[in-house]
C-alpha cells in the first residue's frame, strides 16, 4: 500500500502542487486526469524523486520518507520500489531492447545476468516484442519503444509503476497497441498510477479516477462516479472537451 501525504512543489514563485494526498491500495489502478499545467506529471515525478517536492511524505511498503529531508539512500530505497514509463519512452539509446529490460535488474538490483536474461525474454514475449530483442531503440517504432519501456518497468517487479502520459508522443495508430499492453499488465494485479489523456482507456482500466487542476485534487471516485455522475463543475467542463466512449 502507498500513502502519499501533502505533496507541495513550487518552481520559483509558481506553486505547482498545493498539497496532494493519495492512498493507493495494492493492485489498484489509479488514473490521474487534468488539463496541461495542472501538475499531474510533476506529481508523478515527485513520487520517485525525479523532482524534489518541497513538502510532504511518501510511504511505500513500510518505507516512509519525508520529501524535503530525504537522503540519497532514502531516495534510492523509494526508487527501487517504483518504476516509471515515460512520455518519450526514454529507452537507453545505446542498448538493445533486451539490454534495456535487463539493465535495471543487473546493475541496480545486482541480479545474476542469466536470471535477468530469462526475465527479460519472458517480459519481451509478454509485450509481444520477442523478435525485436536485439533491435536498438532507433530501429523500433514509437509504440514498440514504449512497450519495451513497459517491459523495463515490469522487470523491476516494483510496488508501483508510474505511467507519465505513456501514449501522448505516439502516432495515433500506435496508441492502441500500447494501451492494450498496459491493460493486460493491469489485469495481472500490478499497482499503477497513470497520467493520461485517453479518456476511454481511463474509463476501462481505472479502479479510481482523479481529476486534478491547479495543483489540487478536484474530484476523485470510480470511473462511473467521475465520468457519469460528475459532481464538480470544473470536471464537467474538462470532460466535455473530450468525446469518449467505453466498451
Amino acid at each position: 500500500m502507498i500513502h502519499i501525504k501533502q505533496v507541495h512543489k513550487a518552481f520559483g514563485q509558481n506553486q505547482i502542487l498545493k498539497g496532494i494526498d493519495l492512498t493507493v491500495e495494492k493492485g489498484e489502478v489509479v488514473v490521474i486526469l487534468g488539463p496541461s499545467g495542472s501538475g499531474k506529471s510533476t506529481f508523478l515525478r515527485c513520487l520517485n524523486f525525479l523532482e524534489r517536492a518541497d513538502q510532504g511524505e511518501i510511504s511505500i511498503d513500510q518505507t516512509t520518507v519525508t520529501f524535503n529531508q530525504a537522503k540519497p539512500k532514502d531516495i534510492l530505497a523509494i526508487r527501487r520500489k517504483t518504476a516509471m514509463v515515460f512520455q518519450q519512452y526514454d529507452l537507453f539509446i545505446h542498448k538493445t531492447a533486451l539490454e534495456n529490460v535487463m539493465e535495471g535488474l543487473v546493475i541496480a538490483r545486482k541480479q545474476p545476468k542469466d536470471q535477468a536474461y530469462d526475465t527479460a525474454l519472458q517480459l519481451l514475449t509478454k509485450v509481444g516484442l520477442l523478435e525485436k530483442k536485439d533491435a536498438y531503440p532507433h530501429q523500433l517504432s514509437g509504440g514498440q519503444q514504449q512497450r519495451v519501456g513497459i517491459a523495463r518497468a515490469l522487470a523491476l517487479n516494483p510496488e508501483v509503476i508510474l505511467f507519465d502520459e505513456p501514449t501522448s508522443a505516439l502516432d495515433p495508430e500506435l496508441v492502441g497497441e500500447t494501451l492494450d499492453v498496459i491493460k493486460q499488465v493491469a489485469q495481472t494485479g500490478v499497482t499503477m498510477i497513470i497520467v493520461t489523456h485517453e479518456m476511454s482507456f481511463a474509463y476501462d482500466i481505472a479502479d479510481r479516477v482523479i481529476f486534478m487542476e491547479d495543483g489540487v485534487i478536484v474530484e476523485s471516485g470510480t470511473p462511473v462516479e467521475v465520468f457519469e455522475q460528475t459532481k464538480e463543475e470544473r470536471t464537467k467542463q474538462f470532460l466535455a472537451r473530450f468525446s469518449y466512449h467505453h466498451s
Binding site: 525525479l50 516509471m84 515515460f86 526514454d90 541496480a108 536498438y136 532507433h138 519503444q145
Partner: protein, 236 residues
Amino acid sequence: MDFDVAFMFQAFLAALHYLPTTLLLGFLPLLFGSIFGFGIALIRFYQVPILSPLFKWFVAIFKAIPVVLILLVSYLIFSDSLDQLAASLSLPIRFSDLDRRWIAIFALSLYAVSGLSEIFRSSLASIPKGQFDAALSVGFTGRQVLRRVIIPQVFPISLPLLNNMLISLIKASSLVSMVSVVDILNGALIKANVNYRYLEAYIAVALIYWALCASIEAITAGYEKYGHKNKRRRLA
C-alpha cells in the same frame, strides 16, 4: 631555384626517426587532457559549488593563451623551481636530467585540458535529459548513471571533436623546439643546418604531418562508419 629531391628524402628519414616523440606529444596530452577535461566538464555540468566557478575561470584563461606562451612559461617555471621543489620533497629528480619532453607534455596537456573540458561539457549537455531520468527511475546510483549511461554516450558524441583536438595537438607539438625538444620538425632542421636546404626539410616534414593527420582522420572516420551502433541517436 634548385630543389634537391635526394636531400628531401634524407631529411624525411631523419625526421621520421623522431616520429615517436611527435606521437607522444600528441597522444599523451590528449589522454591527460581527456581525463582532467572530463572531470572538469562533470564538475561544471553538475554545477558543483566552488569548484564549478573556479574551473570556469581556469578554462576561460587557458583558452585565451597561445600554446607557445604556455610552453615557454612552463619551461621557465620548471627550470626555476623544479630543483628547489624536488629538494624540499627529497625527490632524486633534478632539472638537468629531466627529459624536456615531459615539460612539453605538461604544457600541451594544460592547453588540451581547457579545450577538451569544453568538448565534453557540450557533449554532456546534448545527452537527452530523459536518459538521466530513465537511469534514476530504474534505481541507478549516481556513479552507475555515470558509468552505464553518461560515459558510453558521451564518447561517441565527442569523437569527431577529439579527433580535431588530436590533430591540433600534433600540429602544436611542432613548437616544442622552443624548449629544446627534438621532434620531427627539429629532426629535419638539424639535418638542414649542415647545407642550408631548409625548403627541402620543411616540405619533407609537411609530408609527414599530412600523412599523420590524414591517417588519424581515416581511423576516426572508419570508427564512425563501422562502429556507429553506439552513436545512433533517437530523434524524439
